[in-house]
């Protein structure tokens, strides 16, 4: 048990580390720091490093996030021999999980054996899952181990379903002291057998916001597949297809046969999965015996023993980006309730995909970057023109363009285009030409 009293105790307050230290630390910190409040994370990283420098063997450090920011969330860091023990208290979600991640990052730098004590953790969603999975994987690669101590039944089940338990060690508590999460009971956890579809839908609702890390996205989609497989009555297999690099690919599947089913659709270019991914609406093949829409794909599916398919579209920003596919060996297997449940899972997965920006394809991103590069080139040309005409430096030329854009409420690019175009005429239009002192 970690002592909460120590000479080396440190409470991290908002001004615990001087701003100049943050700037210096920022320049030397390895990437990535994640997409959350950097300066806040830096404070923990810097504070933990300073603490590690000072703390004698056996001393503890306490890092407490201000309650007005993060509720009751807190992490107590203890160092026993060569082992670091982090006790997490409160709720680990989108706001607080990055804080734990920053602390773990700092600890992992110097300790190869790290214990995460979750006995007082009340709730954890996919953000927490992502933080734990990433650090466990990193520690494992470097020859270390991350051990989860006393997880609640729900946390353990989540770690198990997503395969994270393969990356870490688990120390279970004494059964007599077993403690569940605030919103879960043993019955709820056991309800994953499919008898409580509405409860499951609520569970999925908590995994809608995760970092835009492909590994984490895939992990959440694997969780969706596992939950859909367990809860949709007629399901013999489930998969998620997602468009990546311009092509559909299976990112999560309950077994190899289901992956083969998806692959057959990609190969033939037809099937409910492909249609749902392209058209953005759901497709239901009640019985493949009477199915005529996909003549090339249907025989392949029947050869693998599949007789019914339900594909629901995955949408990001209302654009189709993939499909949730549910397969059954039994014709007419899916009831209206199953279809409704599938749509709930698809909607939740869509929400997650929207929040992670998965809708932006490589082509779109490339197009955006090309447009941005073109504008930069144009602005540089305009700066050159003004520098020559006015005999000023680049920053001054930029300010002139900026001031004109501000005064006229017109985009910077338009003004740059005018300046460049003016080189085709004998001289700048005296009414609109940029001059020094045009400061609005």
């Amino acid at each position: 048990m970690i002592s909460r009293h120590s000479e080396a105790r440190l409470r991290v307050q908002s001004r615990a580390v001087a701003p100049s230290v943050l700037s210096v630390a920022y320049r030397h910190l390895p990437r990535p720091l994640g997409g959350c409040p950097i300066c806040c994370q830096l404070r923990y990283v810097v504070a933990i490093r300073l603490e590690l420098d000072r703390a004698a063997s056996g001393c503890d450090a306490e890092v407490t996030v201000p309650k007005d920011l993060f509720g009751q969330f807190a992490v107590t860091v203890g160092f026993v021999n060569a082992r670091a023990v982090l006790a997490v208290r409160g709720e680990m979600d989108r706001v607080t999980a990055p804080e734990l991640g920053a602390i773990l990052d700092a600890v992992i730098e110097r300790h190869r054996s790290v214990v995460l004590d979750l006995a007082e953790l009340d709730f954890m969603n996919a953000w927490g899952l992502g933080v734990i999975a990433a650090r466990a994987s990193r520690l494992r690669r470097s020859g270390g181990t991350l051990t989860i101590r006393s997880p609640s039944a729900m946390v353990l089940r989540t770690l198990d379903i997503t395969g994270v338990t393969e990356l870490l060690g688990v120390e279970l508590p004494d059964p007599a002291r077993r403690r569940l999460g605030a919103e879960q009971s043993i019955e709820d956890a056991d309800g994953l057998d499919g008898t409580e579809p509405h409860g499951l839908a609520q569970h999925v609702g908590k995994i809608t916001a995760v970092p835009a890390d492909p590994d984490v996205v895939d992990g959440v989609l694997r969780l969706v597949v596992a939950l859909a497989r367990a809860s949709v009555g007629g399901a013999d297999g489930v998969s998620v297809s997602l468009r990546r690099h311009g092509r559909l690919a299976t990112v999560a599947a309950s077994d190899q046969t289901i992956s083969d089913m998806d692959a057959s659709q990609y190969a033939t270019g037809e099937g409910p999965c492909v249609d749902a991914s392209v058209n953005g609406r759901w497709f239901h093949a009640e019985s493949l015996d009477s199915e005529t829409r996909w003549p090339a794909f249907t025989p392949r599916a029947q050869a693998l023993g599949i007789n019914a398919i339900l594909s629901s579209p995955l949408l990001a920003e209302d654009r189709p980006v993939g499909a949730l596919n549910i397969y059954s060996r039994t014709a007419m297997a899916f009831t209206p309730q199953d279809r409704e449940l599938a749509s709930v899972f698809a909607a939740e997965a869509s929400s997650m995909l929207t929040s992670t920006g998965v809708d932006v394809t490589d082509e779109q991103l490339s197009s955006l970057r090309n447009a941005a590069l073109e504008t930069r080139r144009l602005i540089a040309q305009a700066e050159g023109v003004i520098m020559e005409r006015e005999g000023i430096e680049a920053d001054g030329a930029y300010s002139i363009l900026c001031n004109y854009s501000r005064r006229s409420n017109r985009p910077f690019r338009e003004r740059a285009e005018e300046v460049v175009a003016s080189t085709q005429r004998p001289q700048l239009d005296p009414e609109s030409g940029p001059r020094l002192g045009d400061d609005g």
Partner: protein
């Protein structure tokens, strides 16, 4: 209690404007890059949160990228272009509530 950044300003002042503008960090970086910004996305994020002090030129580019967004939303140019402008504006608006432009809720 407002946090104080390396620049002596409220730590997340620029990021507050970003939030008001309805832009993600990635969206803002692309706009900033388009207008000639030289910092990478992570450095820009650190500047927005006050962990890094921008050069005067960087500050101007960030302000203009944000202001162009506010103009798109029907506003004016609420983001000060220089540190001295920001200081003057804080002095003028002291005790008069938020200085921020409130964009239409549609964003």
């Amino acid at each position: 209690m407002a946090e104080i950044s390396a620049t002596g300003q409220p730590a997340d002042m620029l990021d507050g404007y970003r939030r008001d503008a309805g832009l993600s960090h990635g969206d803002l970086w692309l706009r900033y890059f388009e207008l000639g910004g030289m910092s990478n996305a992570l450095e820009l994020e650190a500047i927005l949160y006050g962990a890094l002090e921008p050069s005067p030129h960087d500050r101007e580019v960030i302000a203009h990228a944000l202001n162009e967004r506010f103009v798109e939303l029907g506003g004016n140019h609420p983001v000060p272009y220089t540190e001295s402008d920001a200081t003057k504006r804080r002095t003028r608006t002291a005790g008069r509530g938020s200085h921020r432009f409130a964009p239409p809720r549609s964003c």
